[in-house]
């Protein structure tokens, strides 16, 4: 799979199923393992929950997919101020997003606006039988 950039924007009412299945498909195409795809989908649910708490109307994300790597940039959350990882759920003080993604950058910028950038990688390749 060559490097691909994919954009999706969904209203909050349908964001969870739409974005979840979208990123799962992209992650699978990128060759992430099933375990990592689970992490990606759970991260999206977490982000949608953060959007709901911020009363954001829609969630937009850009996926950059490369072999065994998926980057997601979520900008809509920042419509109501900069995104802090502490806004999301945490376990024993550790943000869930930080547990799920390899790297989390809450100070990323997209189109001049603050954004949240998540990176997921796999050491192994997803194998289809």
């Amino acid at each position: 799979m060559e490097q691909l950039a994919l954009n999706v924007e969904a209203r909050l009412a349908v964001a969870d199923p739409v974005l979840g299945r979208f990123v799962a498909a992209v992650a699978m195409e990128a060759g992430l393992t099933v375990a990592r795809i689970d992490d990606v989908v759970l991260a999206i649910s977490t982000v949608v929950g953060m959007a709901r708490a911020r009363h954001v109307e829609s969630v937009a994300l850009t996926c950059a997919a490369a072999p065994r790597q998926l980057d997601m940039v979520i900008s809509a959350l920042a419509d109501h101020g900069p995104v802090a990882l502490g806004d999301g759920p945490a376990i024993n003080g550790v943000p869930v997003l930080q547990m799920l993604a390899d790297t989390v950058d809450a100070s990323a910028a997209k189109g001049g606006r603050p954004a949240l950038r998540l990176r997921f990688t796999s050491d192994e390749t997803f194998i289809t039988l």
């Binding site: 994919l6 954009n7 209203r11 009412a13 199923p17 498909a25 992209v26 997919a65």
Partner: protein, 136 residues
């Protein structure tokens, strides 16, 4: 959610991976608002997106995108697929005719709007929702 709301907007590269992502995203949308039409939406949208991809490949167009919008009204889900290409002629290759027939069969309404050569084609697929819209 208000009627006539633009629910989903997607822009992906015109390639197989892009089509897969669009199909899954719209399957997720159908899970939320139009479960009874999920199979029809998946088939028709896949064909429309695949048409854009085939045009890009046949004409060796690099960096072509597929734009997809889904709009929900009180009675229908409308999916608009835009991409480069000359549209779906009623005559021409067998695969194009089959593609148009298939989309026309599974969608309740299908409109193909050829735009300028530079703008490509817009395929508008409407799926009526028999039992209202089960919004969450």
């Amino acid at each position: 959610m208000k009627p006539q709301e633009n629910l989903v907007r997607i822009r992906v590269p015109a390639c197989d991976s892009g089509v897969v992502a669009v199909r899954q995203a719209l399957a997720g949308l159908c899970d939320a608002v139009a479960r009874q039409r999920a199979d029809d939406v998946r088939v028709a949208v896949t064909e429309a997106c695949d048409g854009v991809c085939r045009f890009a490949v046949l004409n060796t167009l690099a960096d072509q995108d597929i734009d997809v919008e889904a709009v929900l009204s009180d009675t229908a889900l409308t999916v608009i697929v835009r991409g480069a290409g000359a549209g779906l002629p009623t005559t021409g290759s067998t695969s194009r005719r089959v593609r148009a027939s298939l989309m026309g069969a599974v969608a309740d309404q299908m409109t193909v709007v050829p735009r300028t050569a530079k703008q490509g084609t817009e395929t508008r697929l409407t799926f009526f929702l028999d039992h209202g819209v089960p919004l969450r």
